[in-house]
Symmetry: C3
Subunit: 667 residues, 3 copies
């Protein structure tokens, strides 16, 4: 069965059954439990290298044959992993260079996981071999629907091999050492390079002062990781190119450029562990839910189609400072939220709790007590039942008319720079504030890279777009001229892709488009605030205040306090067919909500439902050509009411409405 053609939403999880090879009763028992819980998919072999190749070159697939066959016989699909994330001890004993070298230039000892050097050729060869063996044997197995390459890839190596590869990467990028010197502005502190061999990755005991170099090493390593992944994809596709591949994403700040990685994958998959109930007050579940929604929208936007929720906990985790039990209703709410935002699956880490080692207390469908008569099992069963009734939602999409730019290079650049703010730069929080304001307006939102095509959207928002990649300024100009609405904020357009400051006033080369020049930025202490009045309402300002010179823009609001009282804080400028807004300061979420309400209305963007924001209620939609599936989700433990519907605490309701979606591109 092809993944796309499966007419059910997937429900299941990681199944590390090779931890019980001496217990054939466990496999039988688990199949019975899976059926009871409505499980139709398992992920196998994520850390099974030891079980598949117990000694170098000796492969033992018999146990896996049996598991795959049993799954197929019982109507359970299999996602099969390549086991590269976890290395057997014998491998490192023989080839210790496979272990990563850290930034202090210490080679790691055996242990943990996902800590190999991506430049090591022996490791590449060993991984290719076992991947091919797996693919050769199972690529046509009827249970197989998807390859799961490695696991939660991340991390950086600093070994000599990687240094050599880095130098090659630099030569290719810059061609000449003088071009590199210019971009790194290396005469500063006399760091002008005269030979490629002088370049080395950043280190706490070496270079930390050249931001361009630091950025490049991150880019280089992201590329190395993707290159490694491509090698694994090639190994499995060689035997059956029809089986799609994924790798499970887990954090957009993990060191790999997910936008680039996404290009190599047939489907995006993602692991999510919300820190439910972590706060003291009632609104917290909303905030936690919002973070998840952002992450899901980000995954959905990456390929503009549904993704898989590859991992989630059916219960608690074992790595948070304090992990409270999920309150009744939360498991259903969190699972349905993923579906609402574009997931075609709810999968767990893990099916059965390991008895020992690091994650033995991580939640699982079946815990050490091995019993189905538990609260957790019943929660999972209920999700299984509900998903079983939602098969028609599979493959439906969400087409947003608004996008937020959340860019990997910009994130990296903001991290590295030394600036007026070296604490609480809040870039990710600012992104989340804009996202929240849009969600509260009940519109769909895409999360895009700055390299994306803006023309698909009515409104594009670029919070703190500090770094402009080569084409960005021109793209913004064209978008606005062509009729788009673009929202730019403080601290944008300061540096190029190598963290080299632009000459002139920010935002770089767009002073005419926005009608402003940013002269300087006041970075507020936490005890400071400023404010402004817009549409007769006063809003607070925190942390960032650009002082801008007006060059043609219309002033919508001005600072109320401090020596720059009266200077513009919000401007609007019409250029060509479009409109360019500049937010000079960081207004509160309430302002953003009100502001976006207005420009959404002005732009004629259609909302998912026509309602004011109801506290703690999130609304998301998926659609196909003729139907709109509207998810009403109550993140409050109390009853809420929206659009005439009453939602009890943590309840999710799904409404299906006939709708002509051709305007969104459906045909």
């Amino acid at each position: 069965m092809k993944l796309n053609e499966i007419g059910q939403l997937l429900h299941g999880g990681d199944y590390n059954v090779d931890q019980w090879l001496d217990r054939p009763d466990i496999l039988q028992e688990d199949i019975r439990f899976m059926k009871k819980a409505g499980v139709n998919v398992v992920s196998l072999c994520i850390f099974s290298w030891s079980s598949l190749e117990p000694e170098e070159g000796i492969y033992t697939f018999e146990w896996l044959d049996k598991v795959m066959d049993s799954m197929y016989e019982n109507g359970i699909y299999v996602i099969l992993a390549t086991p590269s994330a976890g290395k057997p001890p014998w491998l490192i004993k023989k080839y210790p260079d496979i272990m990563r070298t850290n930034e202090h230039r210490q080679r790691l000892l055996y242990g943990e996981r996902e800590n190999h050097c991506n430049s090591n050729e022996i490791f590449r060869e060993k991984v290719r071999q076992i991947d091919e063996k797996l693919a050769e044997r199972y690529a046509h197995h009827p249970a197989l629907i998807l390859w799961h390459i490695s696991n939660e890839m991340y991390g950086i190596c600093h070994c000599e091999k990687c240094q050599g590869n880095f130098r090659k990467w630099l030569k290719e990028k810059y061609q000449s050492i003088e071009a590199l010197n210019y971009q790194y502005w290396s005469r500063f502190w006399s760091h002008r390079y005269t030979d490629w061999e002088e370049l080395e990755s950043p280190s706490p005991i070496g270079e930390t002062a050249v931001h361009g170099l630091a950025l490049d090493y991150k880019r280089f390593y992201s590329d190395r990781s993707i290159d490694f992944l491509q090698m694994e994809i090639d190994a499995v596709k060689k035997y059956n190119p029809e089986i799609p591949v994924t790798t499970n994403f887990f954090h957009f700040n993990c060191g790999i450029n997910y936008w680039k990685l996404a290009e190599k994958l047939d489907v995006i998959s993602y692991d999510r562990y919300p820190h439910w109930h972590s706060g003291a007050d009632q609104s917290t579940e909303w905030e936690i839910g919002l973070e998840s929604a952002f992450a899901y929208d980000y995954c959905r936007s990456m390929q503009n189609k549904p993704f898989l929720l590859m991992e989630s906990s059916p219960s608690s985790t074992n790595w948070m400072p304090v992990a409270k039990l999920k309150r009744p209703g939360i498991h259903m709410l969190g699972s349905m939220e993923a579906i609402a935002c574009g997931a075609d699956s709810v999968q767990y880490f893990q099916w059965r709790q390991s008895r020992g080692a690091y994650e033995k207390f991580h939640g699982a469908v079946l815990s050490h007590n091995g019993s189905e008569h538990t609260r957790v099992f019943r929660d999972v069963e209920q999700v299984g039942k509900r998903l079983a009734n939602l098969g028609h939602i599979k493959n439906t999409e969400t087409k947003a008319q608004i996008a937020i730019i959340f860019d990997w290079d910009n994130l990296r650049g903001l991290e590295e720079q030394k600036s007026l703010r070296n604490i609480n730069r809040d870039f990710e929080k600012v992104i989340m504030e804009h996202y929240e304001a849009l969600v509260q307006n009940y519109v769909s939102v895409d999360i895009i890279a700055q390299t994306a095509d803006y023309s698909r959207y009515e409104i594009v928002i670029a919070p703190m777009l500090y770094m402009f990649l080569p084409d960005t300024a021109e793209k913004i100009r064209s978008f606005v001229k062509g009729g788009g609405i673009f929202v730019m904020t403080y601290y944008s357009g300061l540096v190029n892709e190598n963290d080299l400051a632009f000459e002139g006033f920010p935002p770089f080369s767009l002073n005419d488009v926005f009608g402003v020049k940013s002269e300087e930025t006041d970075s507020l202490e936490d005890t400071d605030c400023n404010s402004f009045i817009w549409q007769k309402k006063e809003y607070q300002i925190r942390r960032y205040c650009d002082l801008v010179q007006l060059h043609g823009a219309e002033v919508l609001a001005s600072y109320e306090q401090d020596f720059y009282a009266g200077m513009p804080v919000l401007t609007k400028h019409t250029t060509g067919l479009g409109t360019a807004y500049y937010m000079a300061a960081r207004g509160e979420v309430e302002f953003l909500r009100d502001f976006y309400a207005k420009i959404i209305k002005d732009a004629g963007v259609e909302k998912i439902i026509e309602s004011e924001y109801i506290r703690d209620v999130m609304v998301k939609e998926r659609h196909d050509k003729g139907t709109k599936y509207i998810f009403l989700m109550n993140f409050s433990k109390n009853m809420s009411e929206i659009g005439g519907e009453r939602l009890s605490g943590y309840e999710v309701k799904i409404e299906e409405k006939c709708f002509d979606n051709t305007a969104l591109g459906f045909q």
Copy 2:
């Protein structure tokens, strides 16, 4: 004179007179001062290696002959130390491998103290030599009453020699690599070992994920340290097996299993530095005093007989963040508290303050001013006088009918695990809460390992006994069936001795004994609380809440809040002749006090005095066959009254009562 036969409580301290070898006047002066202060014992040579063996193989004992003889002539006993804790520079210059290798695999440079490798054979040989030289010369010296082996032993080495010894230790423990793999659950993350050589000690740059391995390395190293100590004991006993040996304990969390170490010693000795006056409010001295009392009861329980307070400060310390001066009365109170809890001595670190280096500002009887006309000297004199009148208390014992299990393996296991709580696990605090509740009931308490014989007690309490060693469950079952009262709490009986989770519901294999199954544990945030009502009084709950299924137990109280309101929080189950209580949640000390008051009464355990708890007043007892010595100690700076006795601020009164103690085992 034999230590046991000395008819006086000991009073004295560390005397590092070899720091003044060029000042013969100092020794004479000190003897005069010692007599004035009522000192009858000094500890010599704790860090004297440099003075005893200034060059390799050249020994200079003449100065020590003189000191030993002078002490004897002046009626002062000598405790003689082996000097292994402090290494002379020449030794490390010649044999740098003696220095410990840290977990990052760096070999230490010369410096500090107590940082040698316990596997190093040259060091063992050098230590054996100097120990034998000392013993050969002084084992029959009439001043000698005790050997003090090394000093505050602790710490772990990771050198190649230790790795090799660790592998031998593992082979002996597990016999087969597969047995080890099973216990470590090493297929998790593919860490299945195929050769003993693949095993290495945990490291921040290597393995941290295999908790069984981490535990074993701690056990291995505790065994190595004890083995090293045994070598030293053998060296000194060879020349006179009649002289008893001790080593000074200083922290139960120092890395060595004190219960195992205790088996090698003739007498327990202990160093205690209470952080007096560290808090803002009045009750603090009680809390500080309580921690000391726990530690003393722990030392007393270890061999079920009196111990020595080997070190304490007559004044302040030099290593606390802020060390306030002892307020008037505190020195007497703290000294008498040790005696009350079973110490047969009050000894100081140190007699005379070093003029230089690390501890030059650590308190001493004589400070740099060299004067007896100081507050500190007068405080010490008063303690000396009081002790001189208490010689008849020496060797008297305390036989408790109640015990708390505070177990080294369980402590180590709780430290290592990753679980629902990774901050504020509070194990030691929970132990202290139960201890405080018992102390407030004015009963004697033993602190025991889980391997101890429970049958000596009426009531045994096991707070957070997460890890069950092989016989523990059976021992608890037998104890209860035989008529004992056993109190078990939340988060107990989850894993075996190798941190491998038990199958089934906790507490492991005792669901029938306690009549409950623990299904899951809710780990509360600090901003959360729950509560319950017992005997018409409401009590607060923090941090830990087990959700238990009832299987026969009687419910004494139920949760009042949250989704598990109404579920049992305190249960009782009668099995055989005994009673098994299960506390599902962490109630406050006030609850524990009330609860234990009831079961103490039910069990007919006799209290030291019949009184309600008087705030800040601690009561302890020692006894011999016909007398009970009751210590009433006021930890408040204000007057208190108990049992008709008035105690002024910080006062200690000792009452002697004729009593037939044969029921406690005295004959």
Copy 3:
């Protein structure tokens, strides 16, 4: 032109024009801007090694010729730097041993700046060569007024070469290993050395317990750094001994003994970056200004003559946690404050913002926008204009009659010791409290080393003079006997120069002079306080309380609380012609202000102006033979009034008064 003979205050800054060698337009533009801003000096070549010697032995001075000539032609003086602080990559690629070895014994990799080994002979040779080349070419250039040796020197190396040099340094200091053992009190923990080769620098993986050793390594390395500087001075002076030299100081706690370093320099220069607007309340600018004033007075006292403000930011910095923009008026206030305290220049880091690397967002006169039409440029212009009118103030001095001892060895000693307080020792805060109390009395103050000549002053104050260097006690005795007023505090006179505790009661050997013996020190928790009444007013005490025995002193005030209530807290003792005060406890600033007001009056010391302290108004003076230049500076943003003068927010007024200053030593 000789630096001394320039009749203008200097205004300018670091000009790293070699970052724009490909942009000849920039140099022309900058000269135009400099003239507009009233700039008359630039510092060149601070990090230009790469531009001056792009390959080993190949020198390219042509660009510098042009810059020097252009400056001269345009009437702008040049301060020329030796480029040793920033090393070109080719140098380290070829000679990696030049990089420093850190305390963990890791040799650093290439990167950052000012991190070479001062013992490395190749580096010394390479630096000498380039320094001589520069001097040979420019030592007689008419624009050159000053050599700027290296940049912000600091830091410590632990390589084998440094260890060897350290051992030589120790041999020279102690002559015999036994003398060293005595001073280090090394029999403690058995660390008695038998061979110089056993000595090694302190390390977190080695020795940390021998404070004398730790102190000596700091002294040794300070000496190494000064020796390196002397080599550079010799290299440039060889070609023209008339050109004065400086190196820019930046933090008195940077690892180099500035008092010793100052002896090598012709003029002191200093970099200052006040953290303006860092707090929440209004008084903060006063506090920030006070810290700067202290630093400036310290620089002025060092050679008892004007110094240069070598670096300051015309705008913000890029390394503070949060750097707010300078509010209007602050740039003028901060610049004039430096002049008021004895600076003969206002110089900036930097003239033009670097486009890339670490400091690209550090403030500059010209930022990336390259425009003169900015707030910052206008602020700089205004300072330029004001300075242009103050040429007659250049070279005027400030002769104080009061001095505070702030000593490098004492600072180092207090840092290293382990004592009753291991947090919040507050030495620098205590120094600042005494300084503030004097500033609030509107008197001039010198900041001196304990080795200084006290006889120049009426009053000498020694807060927390923990460590007495060899002559200190005798100097204090003579000063008091000769008629001086000496104020000593708690925690003084405890140890000798090697941190070896003195025998007897502190303050060492001065019990007769002060009439007190300090018996012990109570170290208060932050929640504690004590108090005393002096002159009918009650004052609070924090953290330090000496308990002193009276031996002849008159008691001026006594403790009010705690067990030492009634014991002396402030005493006075007349000896010879002078008076010795002992402050046993740390009273608040208000007390210090009142106390100093009284003794200033008693001593007949003349105040700068006769006024009570006006909140937020600082008053400083400079003078020549016949004139007093009085600076009235308002650190409040609101209007203030002092001596009949009204000062608007942040305003600075300068009053010139005819005055016969011959009594101050002017002739």
